[in-house]
């Protein structure tokens, strides 16, 4: 290299041109590396945030639900036709309670109407089983039969979804008051509104929806005036011709408040009819429909109706399964690790065992499911779909993880502690249990809890041992039929109705909360024990 001699007075002999160049390159490499790291972390954070936002966004509607309050007299003839006051009989008498609810609605909206189709449309605001909690409540307190009671029932999932802004796109338009009105309820009504922009607003909204949807579905406009709801047929010269659909069967007086609800789709293309929307809106105006916290997610077990389905059985099932898993994997794992790490002589046999344990940790979980089905169910004759078998399978699944984590934790305890204990005359067992194990405890606990968290999220092996069964009862012990949260999520996610979507997201959140709690416990335990070091 024939670089010009550097000026020693300025730079010193170390700082040659070549050295500076190398230095610059090194700094650049350092900066690049830092950047790569930041980009990697950025990607991870963005992915996590996207996941959380999407799940919470979807689930938010599942955590609230709309319920209708209704007052009724618990007529003994309907509620308990046999008169035996048998709680089982009463809680099973869903149709009786259903009739109470249906009569209540029919009295309000369709008095004297015999049209079956129309009535069914009204009754469609609820599913048949919506009254089940009422039936159970009454069965618990038979003395309330015959008295006036106030109940609340969950609306059908489609209606609930509509109230939460689903089903179809919509816009509400204030039309001011009714300026002119003519015609009759039966043959059609002509109406004009005080707001000068009324016709323009409605047309604009309809056109917008029309353009937005590729389908040939025409937008529908519903008009409410006072307590009466109409469907808009034509709109010309500021005068609307309307057909009565629901509400008070009388022409609204001039000056009544009027508004329009423009829906993006015609009723043939949605799951909620115009009348159902009108009834729902009327009930809401009355204050009888309220949005409440969806406790059924935690109190109900699975159901074929999304508005009634809850995760209670799965939560209890998961807890029972975890209990069995913990009781198998943690003690066996820790003792195996202690033996292998502290007592076993290192020879070919222990090497073989070690290699096998490491390999077991990498075996796909579904293989453990097959093993469970073959050994526990077929060979040992244990019942299917029970947390006991699920817990045993998951216990075997996390056992290698627990052993590996525990061995790593034991290895990290400095050998000087062992020699110190042996030096004062402790036996090897005393040295391990008095000194080494307590020091390794935080690592062992962390490993165990992370293993448990993995087990909590496992689906595949449990499908194979039949924990995917529909379970309507909260299990009371590890030998009751049960399901677990991840399997429930899998089942709900395959549900056809739209309402399963938020329900699934809500169940995912429940699962995530459990996982976060477990990790939190791991962190707290680690902190607590580490302070002693």
């Amino acid at each position: 290299m024939n670089s010009p001699a550097p000026n020693p007075s300025e730079k010193g002999t170390f700082v040659t041109e070549a050295a500076l160049k190398r230095l610059k390159k090194r700094h650049a490499a350092e900066m690049r590396f830092k950047l790569y790291g930041q980009v990697a972390i950025g990607i991870a954070v963005v992915a996590l945030i996207t996941l959380l936002v999407s799940i919470f966004g979807q689930a938010s509607s599942a955590f609230s639900r709309n319920v209708l309050t209704f007052d009724t007299t618990l007529d003994a003839a309907q509620v308990d036709p046999t008169g035996a006051r048998d709680p089982d009989e009463i809680s099973r008498n869903v149709s009786g309670f259903n009739l109470l609810l249906q009569d209540n609605l029919a009295d309000q909206f369709l008095p004297g109407v015999e049209d079956r189709a129309r009535l069914r449309e009204l009754y469609g605001l609820f599913t048949r089983l919506a009254v089940l909690p009422i039936a159970r409540k009454t069965a618990e307190r038979p003395d309330t039969i015959g008295s006036q009671q106030r109940f609340s029932v969950a609306l059908a999932d489609d209606i609930d979804l509509f109230l939460k802004g689903g089903v179809t796109e919509r816009t509400s338009i204030k039309l001011g008051t009714v300026a002119r009105i003519s015609g009759s309820i039966e043959t059609g009504v002509q109406m004009a509104f005080s707001s000068p922009d009324a016709s323009d607003d409605i047309t604009k909204a309809e056109t917008r929806f029309q353009e937005a949807s590729a389908a040939d579905s025409a937008p529908t406009t519903l008009v409410s005036a006072g307590d009466t709801w109409f469907r808009l047929d034509t709109l010309a010269d500021g005068s609307a011709s309307l057909t009565f659909i629901a509400g008070e069967q009388a022409l609204p007086a001039a000056g009544a408040q009027a508004s329009a609800l423009v829906l993006a789709q015609a009723q043939e293309n949605r799951t909620v009819s115009d009348r159902q929307i009108a009834w729902t809106m009327l009930l809401k105006e009355e204050g009888r429909i309220k949005s409440t916290f969806n406790t059924s997610l935690f109190t109900h077990s699975d159901s074929t109706y999304p508005e009634l389905a809850g995760a209670a059985a799965a939560i209890v099932g998961s807890l029972l399964t975890m209990l069995v898993t913990a009781m198998l994997a943690i003690p066996v794992g820790i003792f195996a690790a202690v033996y292998l790490e502290e007592f076993a002589t290192k020879n070919r046999m222990t090497d073989l065992i070690e290699v096998n344990i490491n390999n077991l940790a990498a075996v796909p979980s579904i293989v453990f499911g097959l093993l469970g089905a073959a050994v526990f169910i077929n060979f040992l004759g244990m019942p299917r779909s029970v947390p006991l078998v699920g817990g045993l399978v998951l216990g075997l699944l996390v056992l290698p993880t627990v052993i590996i984590a525990s061995r790593a934790a034991l290895k990290s305890v400095p050998p000087s502690i062992r020699t110190a204990a042996l030096g004062v005359g402790a036996s090897p067992t005393q040295a391990v249990f008095h000194h080494v194990l307590p020091l390794a405890a935080p690592g062992i606990l962390t490993g165990s809890i992370i293993g448990m968290a993995r087990a909590l999220g496992e689906t595949a092996p449990l499908l194979l041992i039949g924990m995917v069964a529909f379970v309507a009862e909260v299990p009371s012990g590890p030998t009751d039929e049960s399901t677990v949260l991840p399997v429930l999520i899998y089942k709900w996610s395959t549900g056809a109705e739209r309402a399963w979507e938020p329900q699934t997201a809500a169940a995912i959140i429940v699962l995530l909360v459990f996982l976060v709690l477990m990790n939190l416990i791991a962190i707290i335990l680690r902190r607590r024990f580490e302070r002693r070091w």
């Binding site: 502690i417 062992r418 110190a420 204990a421 004062v424 402790a426 002693r532």
Partner: protein
């Protein structure tokens, strides 16, 4: 087996009671140590006197620590290590099957190169040994044991107000004295020290050396050291090891002033090692 164990401890007490001066505490006969195939100690025979300090010196890797660890059978804990030959303590063969290493180690305490207190309180560090050996019944007796051990190790004044503070929070020199106190607390007869000052500064080293000098009155002390000055300062007997063999053994004064072997001469004058 129980009978033998009792004999072992009985003999110890009776001999201790006699308090004979210049009595041999540990007799080593033809000790060989192998690590796997490799032989680390070659046929060493040596008598260690009671109530005196015996220093093992020699260059690194000469086997002095290995030999020291034979005396409380710490080599048992190393899987590949194999010890042959006999070691008698007060006339009993410590390698005999009837002697449990746990009992032996309660009589032969050990202090290691690096201070290794348990990550527990100062009190628990000292109390651990007496607890597992059942040397104290009741809290008060245990308190007395702890205090006396700390006093003997010259640490009491420094830590009496913070007995419940973690032992790992002490300075290096204090930690090493804590380890000595921990060894004393199980009332051993022999204390083995494996380079106890190598991780300490000169002031802490001086403090430990003073302590060793005081302890000499009650215990048989064996110390491995790299520092010839230290050996000369604290010991009455010195053994020089080289390449796994015992080269020379005798009174410290003689070894340092008038060594018989030329290798000893070379080592103590700093020509190698």
């Amino acid at each position: 087996m129980d009978g033998n164990v009792e004999d072992f401890t009985e003999t110890a007490r009776s001999k201790q009671a006699q308090n004979m001066p210049e009595m041999t505490k540990v007799e080593c006969r033809n000790i060989d140590v192998f690590y796997g195939e490799k032989q680390a100690i070659f046929d060493i025979s040596l008598d260690i006197p009671d109530r005196a300090v015996t220093a093992f010196i020699g260059p690194s890797g000469c086997g002095k620590s290995t030999f020291l660890r034979c005396i409380n059978r710490m080599n048992d804990t190393i899987e590949s290590a194999r010890v042959t030959g006999q070691i008698f303590m007060d006339g009993a063969d410590i390698n005999d099957h009837s002697i449990d290493p746990v009992l032996l180690r309660s009589r032969v305490g050990m202090v290691f190169q690096k201070p290794n207190p348990f990550p527990k309180s100062i009190y628990d560090n000292i109390a651990y040994g007496p607890r597992i050996h059942g040397l104290a019944s009741g809290k008060q007796e245990l308190d007395e044991v702890v205090e006396s051990a700390l006093r003997k190790a010259g640490l009491w004044e420094e830590v009496k107000d913070r007995l419940l503070a973690p032992g790992t929070g002490l300075s290096g020199g204090q930690q090493q004295r804590l380890c000595i106190a921990r060894a004393i607390a199980v009332s051993p007869e022999v204390i083995l020290m494996d380079e106890p000052c190598s991780a300490l500064d000169p002031i802490a080293t001086a403090r430990i050396e003073e302590l060793i000098d005081e302890l000499r009155e009650r215990y048989c002390i064996v110390i491995v050291t790299h520092s010839m000055q230290q050996a000369a300062r604290v010991s009455q007997k010195t053994a020089f090891f080289h390449l796994g063999k015992l080269v020379e053994y005798g009174d410290t004064e003689r070894i340092f002033t008038n060594p018989e072997d030329s290798r000893t001469q070379d080592y103590i004058t700093g020509r190698f090692g």
